[in-house]
């Protein structure tokens, strides 16, 4: 079993929090993990990505080869499309529908959605609104993680435990909000799929 996941977004949008949940859950499940991330100048409002690889066998490369990603989870619709060459045939796409516009030539939103919808296995989710309605707009990333959860090689329990572990420091309320965000993401994905 080997699962390759690309996390995409803009510097500061919290993709490393998604990565940390995946890492923690994988490690607790006695699986091997490699997770690359971007530090330095690109973090300042630029396109960033993280490659997460989870396996019960030894993982060699820190980077996912082209055409081998099982899924791309993006907190921004255009950033999702940037990494399509990495997606395997019929791989899963999960993205927030809300754009992060900090460039003057940002494409037409409808064109982006249409492009995403041409992929058979895509989940377009208004994660930001969901997170806001739960009273924690910062949990957008966790909503998206929840939406992808059913297709991850990690048990629901291990993911919930990882969320508890990671947010523990910030207090019980933040833990609860993030668990709600995760579960809401799961629900929405189920609704879309069925």
């Amino acid at each position: 079993m080997k699962t390759n996941i690309i996390l995409a977004g803009v510097g500061g949008q919290g993709i490393l929090t998604i990565a940390a949940v995946l890492d923690t859950a994988a490690l607790a499940s006695n699986l091997n993990i490699k997770q690359s991330e971007v530090h330095g100048m690109s973090q300042r409002g630029g396109a960033v990505q993280s490659h997460v690889r989870i396996s019960d066998k030894e993982i060699h490369s820190d980077l996912i080869p082209q055409g081998k990603a099982d899924m791309i989870i993006s907190v921004e619709p255009m950033e999702l499309l940037r990494y399509l060459p990495f997606l395997k045939k019929d791989g899963l796409l999960v993205t927030d529908i809300n754009p992060f516009v900090n460039i003057t030539n940002y494409p037409e939103l409808e064109a982006l959605y249409n492009e995403i919808k041409t992929h058979p296995n895509s989940l377009l989710i208004d994660a930001k609104t969901i997170a806001k309605s739960l009273g924690n707009s910062k949990a957008t990333n966790i909503v998206l993680l929840g939406a992808a959860a059913a297709q991850l090689p990690l048990s629901d329990e291990s993911l919930q435990e990882a969320i508890k572990t990671l947010f523990e420091r910030k207090g019980e309320k933040i833990v609860r909000k993030n668990l709600e965000a995760y579960n809401k993401g799961k629900e929405i994905a189920l609704e879309i799929v069925s």
Partner: protein, 538 residues
């Protein structure tokens, strides 16, 4: 349970476990997290391990050598271009040798994710004639760093650990092992070892040359250099450092049919290279960075077509390696199923919303508009983004400190206005000496120190300049009438433009300190800055 660590963090944990008494470093991507990990480590605090940032890489490495002189183990850390700054002590401490184990970590940045060049530090290691270690993954980074301190003390030499961005910034589960105690203070046995006057230096240099056979033998027998047999001898593969991982990624369960020589310790183990040459028809060299091994093992005129790699076009000559370009070098087809749609546009990094550099660039651009002769010499930091739209304020960007000295040289050539923009930490790193030079000749340049009181680009670490800039400038002899402080806020724009214009018109050195803390600074740090010594200007 295993610890989930970045390659950089695994290295830092290994250094703590190896019994270092200090780490000396200046921040620089991709090396920064090594020192930060030690700064945050409770164990390191309990053990009283020195971890405060140095002013630059040269001071860092010299302090490390001082700690080694005292008999203690020590780590010094920098990015590849930082080693240029420390090159003087680096080359000479190979001649003097060390006392307590001294490990130099250099994090290279192939593909220049956050750098001006992709120089390969292995060339420096070979230049200095010291052992180089190049881990291939995070666990090996831990193990090899532990080993590095023993090797350093065994050889009496500094040892280089060469990291690359992808290893530095990727996490994996790490198993650590039992820690060692710190060394007690013990001075060098030979009182002349560190006295590099010519008569002693000649002896030391001869010694360095003489022990090259020892460093080579250590490589030949190293646990980290492995010859892996394979049935298909139509090709043999030399894979160094992280390239080994990308290679193995191309074979299910790591089942590669070709013989492989995995290199993680230098000098190159000649016997093993010879064995590969003798048994294989062709040799593919895989290495991240420059064709360092390839140049050593290929013949000068490339008439022997046996060696292939970056020099022969089988791999990209520049840019980092990845599983895909190695796959192509192996003759496999790289398949992808979907192209990136054309509507996707680039998203380069940008200055933060509310960043003080933005307001400074607005002022500078207005002055460039007023006088098209104006040239603006930039420096290394977030403000390097002033090269890009929307500001496009900066004409040059070369190395730490070059803004002031290039502005001076251009001014000597007759360019006016000649303006330097330099950050506070870059100024204390390498700008002060240049400013002194300009003061001595009273060169008509305007130096703007964009003081955000942080080493912002690498994560807002403490700046050596905080609270000291005015005193430093006065001390260097800057005329107090032309040493000005401004607050770069939009509401002050017109006032700031007027002030800078006046200083540009002054026929001598002016320094304008544009002071407003980095927006990325946490509140505690901003509060701390407020309590720093306030120095008033006349």
């Amino acid at each position: 349970m295993k610890k989930l660590l970045l390659g950089n963090e695994a290295l830092a944990q290994a250094a703590i476990d190896a019994g270092i008494s200090g780490v000396y470093a200046y921040p620089g991507t991709p090396s920064t997290e090594i020192t930060e990990y030690i700064q945050k480590s409770k164990t390191a605090k309990t053990l009283n391990i020195h971890s405060q940032w140095s002013v630059n890489e040269k001071t860092a490495m010299e302090a490390a050598l001082g700690m080694s002189y005292a008999g203690k183990r020590v780590l010094t850390v920098m990015k590849h271009v930082g080693l240029n700054v420390a090159a003087d002590v680096f080359m000479n401490m190979a001649v003097s040798g060390i006392n307590g184990g001294l490990v130099v970590v250099v994090a290279d940045d192939p593909s220049m994710h956050s750098s001006q060049n992709e120089q390969d530090s292995r060339n420096y290691g070979r230049f200095a004639m010291i052992p180089i270690l190049e881990p291939s993954n995070q666990q090996e980074t831990y193990n090899i760093t532990r080993y590095a301190f023993h090797l350093s003390e065994q050889m009496g030499l500094p040892v280089m650990v060469r990291m690359v961005t992808r290893l530095s910034h990727s996490r994996a589960g790490i198993e650590t092992s039992k820690g060692e105690l710190q060394n007690n203070i013990h001075l060098p046995k030979n009182p002349h070892q560190f006295q590099l006057i010519p008569m002693h230096a000649r002896n030391r240099y001869q010694h360095l040359v003489d022990i090259q056979s020892d460093t080579r033998e250590s490589s030949e027998n190293s646990y980290f250099n492995t010859f892996i047999d394979g049935p298909n001898t139509s090709m043999g593969i030399i894979a160094s450092g992280i390239a080994y991982n990308y290679l193995m990624e191309n074979f299910d369960d790591g089942d590669c049919p070709f013989p492989i020589l995995k290199i993680s310790q230098y000098p190159l183990p000649k016997k093993q290279v010879k064995k590969l040459f003798d048994t294989c028809k062709k040799i593919l060299v895989l290495e991240d960075g420059s064709p360092f091994i390839e140049e050593l093992v290929a013949d000068y005129f490339s008439e022997n077509k046996k060696v292939i790699g970056r020099l022969t076009g089988h791999l990209n000559r520049v840019g980092e390696l990845n599983p895909d370009n190695i796959s192509e070098a192996l003759g496999f087809e790289v398949k992808h199923f979907t192209e990136m749609p054309k509507i996707v546009t680039g998203r380069p990094p940008e200055l933060c919303v509310g960043c003080a550099h933005r307001d400074l660039f607005e002022a500078v651009n207005q002055l460039s508009k007023e006088n098209s002769n104006q040239q603006v010499f930039g420096d290394i930091g977030c403000y390097a983004l002033g090269v890009l739209p929307p500001y496009e304020s900066i004409n040059t960007l070369i190395d730490m400190g070059a803004s002031i000295t290039m502005a001076k040289g251009a001014s000597d050539a007759g360019i006016h206005p000649s303006v330097a923009i330099i950050g506070d930490s870059t100024f204390t790193h390498s700008g002060m000496t240049g400013l002194l030079e300009a003061v001595i000749e009273n060169s008509p340049i305007t130096v703007i120190i964009s003081d955000n009181s942080a080493i912002a680009m690498t994560g807002a670490q403490d700046s050596s300049a905080s609270g000291r800039l005015i005193d430093i400038c006065k001390g260097l002899g800057v005329d107090e009438n032309h040493l000005k402080l401004i607050n770069p806020l939009h509401k002050n724009l017109d006032k700031n433009i007027d002030l800078i214009r006046n200083e540009i018109n002054h026929k001598g050195v002016s320094v304008v300190i544009a002071q407003r803390p980095c927006v990325q600074l946490p509140k505690e740090k901003k509060d701390k800055l407020k309590n720093l010594k306030k120095v008033s200007l006349n």
